[in-house]
């Protein structure tokens, strides 16, 4: 009789223990995946999709908590495992989409940086020909502006290096605009003096002030 009872109870006990075990390992693995997506930039580059992923994870966690609150015999983590599996299935897709958007932003930033470098180079070439005319103050200011633009190109590179592509692109565009304005200012000055080259300052005391 005892043996019959044991034979009847054993599968039941196994079933209860199997269904009653919370999927803590799978939960930890899923949470790590979502964190990886965040670190990959999903919250910045795919904010809405990342919010959905977080929503799915929260629902899975809530389901686990609900089951934990039940009496051991009545716990069933099947649905929680399904929800966690859904999150794990979506996470790599989100990471891939994030990488794609980040690559696009990086490409835009690089192109803007290249365009800015070209614009600064053209402006510098014109500044070298800037006439030292009556408006000496303007010439000195133009030289300062050219120096500042060159320094700002370094700031663009730093933003790209730190993967802040939004700032890099905005700064590069600003440098490009200013370089064009500077080039136009120098061209205007050159046109006034007929394109004459700047005369280097003489070394004698006569012209030193």
């Amino acid at each position: 009789m005892k043996q019959i009872m044991m034979l009847l109870l054993a599968p039941t006990l196994l079933l209860v223990v199997g269904c009653g075990k919370a999927p803590t390992d799978k939960l930890a693995e899923t949470e790590k995946g979502v964190l990886d997506a965040k670190l990959a930039g999903a919250s910045a580059y795919a904010a809405e999709d990342f919010a959905k992923l977080e929503g799915m994870l929260t629902n899975a966690q809530k389901e686990i908590d609900d089951q934990n609150a039940k009496f051991m015999l009545f716990r069933d983590y099947g649905k929680a495992e399904q929800l966690l599996a859904s999150v794990r299935a979506e996470t790599p897709k989100l990471i891939e989409e994030t990488a794609k958007k980040k690559a696009e932003a990086k490409d835009v930033a690089f192109k803007a940086h290249d365009a800015a470098k070209e614009a600064v180079k053209r402006a510098q070439a014109l500044v070298a020909k800037a006439p030292v005319g009556k408006d000496r103050a303007a010439v000195e200011a133009i030289k300062n502006d050219a120096k500042a633009l060159t320094a700002s190109l370094n700031d663009v590179q730093m933003a790209i290096d730190s993967e802040d592509y939004l700032t890099a692109q905005a700064k590069a565009k600003a440098v490009q605009d200013k370089s064009r304005a500077l080039a136009a200012e120098v061209k205007g000055a050159l046109a006034k003096v007929g394109g004459a080259k700047a005369t280097p300052a003489t070394t004698g005391t006569k012209n030193k002030k």
Binding site: N59, S86, K134, V139, N144, A148, K208, K209
Partner: protein, 404 residues
Amino acid sequence: MDRCSSLVLRTGALLCALTVPLLAACVQQAPPDLVQSVEDLDQQLAAARGAEFAPEDYRQFVQHWVAFKDRLRSDDDVIGWPWEDNPFETDLRALYEEGSRVLMVATDRQNTERQGAVSNVARLERRLRRFTSRVDRIGSRVALGEQRVETELLVKQARSFLEQGHFAHSVRVAQQADQHMASQAARLNSELSRYADKEQVARWRAMVRRTVDWSKRHQAAALVVVKAEQRLTLYKNGRAVLSYRPVRLGFNGVQEKRYEDDGATPEGDYRVVRKRDRGQTEFYRAFLLDYPNADDQRRFQSARKAGVIPAEARIGGNIEIHGEANRQLSETLGCVMLSNRQMDALFHEVKVGTPVTIVGAVDVDNQVAVVLAQLDQGNDDPDDDSADSQDAPAQPDETAVEQS
């Protein structure tokens, strides 16, 4: 018995025939049009950047929506009587209401942020225009070095972020630009504080008075240059007879002269030591001054000892009052430059030994002091039209003052 069995069978069949359709009609499903409506709402929220402008509300909506979609995907059927509410429909309507509310909140906040960023950038650009105009008015563009362009680039970035819809970025960069301008204003105030110093201005006024008195006592000509007004006045026998404005100073003219090539026009009591006529100077006609005098030498040595000027710097010389270059090109590193016609008017009045007094200002409300105060205040009230009129450049003035 047969009749009884037959009756039971027929009754059972009738009951099944009635029950099965009834049961089938009670399996409740999510109305597809409502599901689509909530899907569409989800897309609208993504387009409205719900996660950015209503993060908490959006997160909750998404959580409920995802949970509902999980219920749909599961195999559980919901059975209910036809007169009972469909829980899927009820939940979908609740979701739709929630999503609509979140969309309204996100859209309102986005509009508010946009309007804030738009007015902020407009204010900033106006402030930069006024700042630049005022700095140029006192000839201090070069003094600010590369800081000017750094500020301009920040303002452009603020505009660029605004146009791309990144309002928080725009506001953050605009704040940096404001701080830059405040820092530049502080720097100029520090370097040019002499112009707002009553005692200093009184000392300058006294210098001018002494020169004018000398002119009267010696019945001779004297020249006075006031840098803040960019004005040169010829006195004869103690009376002003000619006045020119604006005259050109060095590229850092209003600054205190410290060393050679710094672009500042020196301040002090000088004399003409040589007159250069046409053909004797590249600047048409010129009066060479005795800069550096003893005071200049003393100041230079003190500055060098204090380390405020580069160790290799020289005091320089060759400060003149001169005309425009014969060539297309000329250099002004601290001289006072007039037009050739003006030099013609002065040339025969001025002799070797004529005193030339150069001061910063003779009035505490001089242009440099006024501009410094304006730069300090920011003065970016959009309704303040007087600020723009104050920035208008002064009209040229060539006055021949009649002797009584």
